[in-house]
Symmetry: C2
Subunit: 117 residues, 2 copies
């Protein structure tokens, strides 16, 4: 009864939570589609570690892999990021709205239940 879109959000935020993954995303968007082996050269971790991160990002829908011959190129899927941004903005707006409502309520009824003792 909270957010039906919480599952994809979970995926995305989990993916975004890892700094290596964010950096991967960043580099990928900066330098276009690259292979895992290619990417791995710029990171302090093994190629396999990068592959795992790429997998996580793909699972979150933030990347798409495309096979070219014996290479697999990973590219950014901007729409997903856009969705995540929209979700975050929505939550923020909801909070803001509720806080405003709370402030309004407090202005109308300053200290409910505090004069009972």
């Amino acid at each position: 009864m909270h957010q039906p879109d919480d599952r994809p959000a979970d995926q995305v935020f989990t993916a975004l939570a890892d700094p290596t993954r964010r950096r991967l995303l960043d580099q990928l968007s900066a330098q276009g589609p690259l292979s895992a082996t290619d990417l791995a050269t710029g990171y302090p971790v093994s190629r396999q570690a990068v592959v795992k991160h790429l997998g996580a990002l793909s699972a979150a829908g933030l990347l798409r892999s495309e096979r070219h011959g014996r290479e697999v190129l990973y590219g950014v899927v901007p729409e997903r990021l856009d969705e995540a941004t929209a979700w975050l903005a929505d939550v923020g707006a909801r909070w803001d709205h509720r806080l405003r409502a709370l402030a309004d309520h407090l202005r109308d009824d300053p200290d409910p239940g505090a004069g009972t003792s």
Copy 2:
């Protein structure tokens, strides 16, 4: 060496990555400042677990605790969420821009080194 604002983002995204924490944030914004004990009654975990999550959220700057007598009330700090939203939107925009630049480049120089077969 990439983004100087990556540290706070790391905190925020790490905090947001946990579903319990997101729910906590949600409830807190919906029902105003509440104590850890109060919050814990609505969750399948112990009060201490909730306290830890609250601590993580506070560390990320998403919550602020305020002591009232023997109770500690936790309240949402919307600005931080706003910052996170802005950051995400910024990253998204940057990606979009780079993709556009890439598309433009490809239009000018369609397929460098790939037309050999």
